[in-house]
Amino acid sequence: MKPKERVMTALMRGQPDQVPWVENEVEEQLQIRIMGGRTDYTPGELCRALGMDGFGYHFPTGGAGSASQALQTSKSIKEAFYFPKKITFDFVPPWIADMGVEPGGRTYVKRGLLTDRDSLKLFDEFLPDPDHPARYEQVAKWIEQYREDYAVYARIRLGTASTIESIGLDVFSLMMFDDPDLVKEIHRRFSEWTVRVIENLNKLDLDFYWANDDHADTKMPWVNMEMYEEFFKPYQKMVADAIRKPWAFHSDGNIFPILDGLVSLGMNAIHPIQPSAMDIARMKREYGSKVCLIGNIDLDYTLTLGTPEEVDKEVKERIEVAGKGGGYIISSANSLTDYCKTENVWAMSKAVKKYGKY
């Protein structure tokens, strides 16, 4: 099988010739280490180097590093969205937040800015025009130029993570009681933005979407099922209904308590099944007939602090548990961050080949 066929077969819960490997992201500094210091490689070259079967996210190829999100004005956020300088397949809205930058360049949300009704005017200031043709035209060219035989995906958000981060988790928690309509209004606006993005993306030659919306910490989701159904699902459904391609859903943490609600949206896969929060054997048993499973190679310890031998062992175990009968795409339990040990990423690459054959 070609890589794309392998990924699409697994996404549809079928059994390919071997367990496919796709990551939600490989951070650029790690990509460069994998490629021996080069920055001029194509997405396909990175996939071949590691033996991965698909790509999305972004690559350093095509331009110098740009200012991180935190350093951009709302005007430059829009310009960067319309006219990306480096290869990207991301279509996520910016956080409407006061952003900070760590010394290593990683950005973080200092404080959400959507805290009252007056702050709703910030939507116009921050969100790019989802129908501006430039980004879609550019990404269409990149897909044509770089897809080769790989599965290509775009990252999106259903709007939930945007809502929570742009309000701030603590403020959001109280706002659900103090002003529930405002929470809904904010979610609706983010989801409507994504619906328009999706309507444009549906016309591109993408293979699938990957919706990134954290709902949980390692203990439990931030909302119960009743709150999920009231505050999130109606707006998530707007996005899900607009999607015309297979799609994967991502949330860190333990989403078991709301998983029935989420799965009813009709996604094809669930990612990343964080090992410290969710048991993949239970996922396979209870949800394996409904969705493809993606992920579960531990990022908290194994890939970042463990040894290549531990990576090898974990890959073997996961394939035995989750790979049975297909419907499993191996992946880290979030993304390959730049603080993963390079030797562990190579160990994962070797182990996937060693144990992944059906």
Partner: protein
């Protein structure tokens, strides 16, 4: 427990802050001491909230709602409390460790500790080992709580504990660690005194250690 104290506890558990503040005012006017309100109604309310959270009956928003009600209630009876003999259980210094800028988890731990009857000194985010050492010297806390969100910054927890040891302060404090990538195994490895997966578990561990 009197009906009035039971009502105050229940209002706090349900996060009904307006009714709670009114009921506290009535109770004080009726001659119930602020210390009694604190020890027999408000602190037990936080335990109920924590237990409900541990059992999965309450989720984060319910816990935050209760913690806000508790915090406002404490503020409302603060001046009355200071007239009496009420003392906080212990002092805790909390902070997100060096290199880490995430503060949501730390802030929730702070809220829950305050609600649980602790005095909390919040050092903020990206707190160097030296600042923790300085805070322990200046504040003489019983507990030091270290938070980290990403694997990359967990090592700063080890560095902070080492710095407290080098400064000869390790024996004076009980050190708790928490955050998404942190595990009991890691806590043991770096020589922390305890680990908790969530904010209320942290309060419970502190209570156990004080017994």
């Amino acid at each position: 427990m009197s009906d009035q104290l039971e009502k105050i506890k229940d209002l706090c558990v349900r996060g009904k802050r307006v009714e709670l503040l009114a009921e506290l005012k009535t109770a004080l006017a009726a001659g119930i001491e602020a210390k009694t309100l604190m020890t027999d109604a408000l602190i037990p309310a936080m335990s109920v909230i924590g237990e409900k959270y541990s059992k999965g009956e309450y989720f984060l928003p319910h816990m935050m709602l209760g913690a806000r009600a508790m915090s406002e209630a404490m503020e409302a009876i603060k001046s009355e409390l200071s007239k009496g003999t009420y003392e906080r259980k212990a002092k805790a210094v909390v902070g997100t460790v060096a290199g880490d800028f995430h503060d949501i988890g730390k802030n929730i731990v702070k809220l829950m500790l305050e609600g649980g009857g602790y005095e909390v000194i919040d050092l903020g985010v990206d707190v160097s080992p030296e600042r923790f050492v300085e805070a322990v010297k200046n504040e003489s806390p019983r507990f030091v709580m270290l938070s980290a969100l990403i694997t990359l910054t967990m090592e700063s927890m080890r560095g902070t504990i080492e710095a407290l040891s080098s400064a000869g302060l390790r024996g004076q404090v009980l050190i708790g660690v928490g955050g998404a990538p942190v595990t009991q195994k890691f806590a043991d490895e770096i020589g922390a005194d305890f680990y908790s997966q969530d904010a209320y578990g942290c309060v419970e561990k502190c209570n156990q250690l004080l017994r």
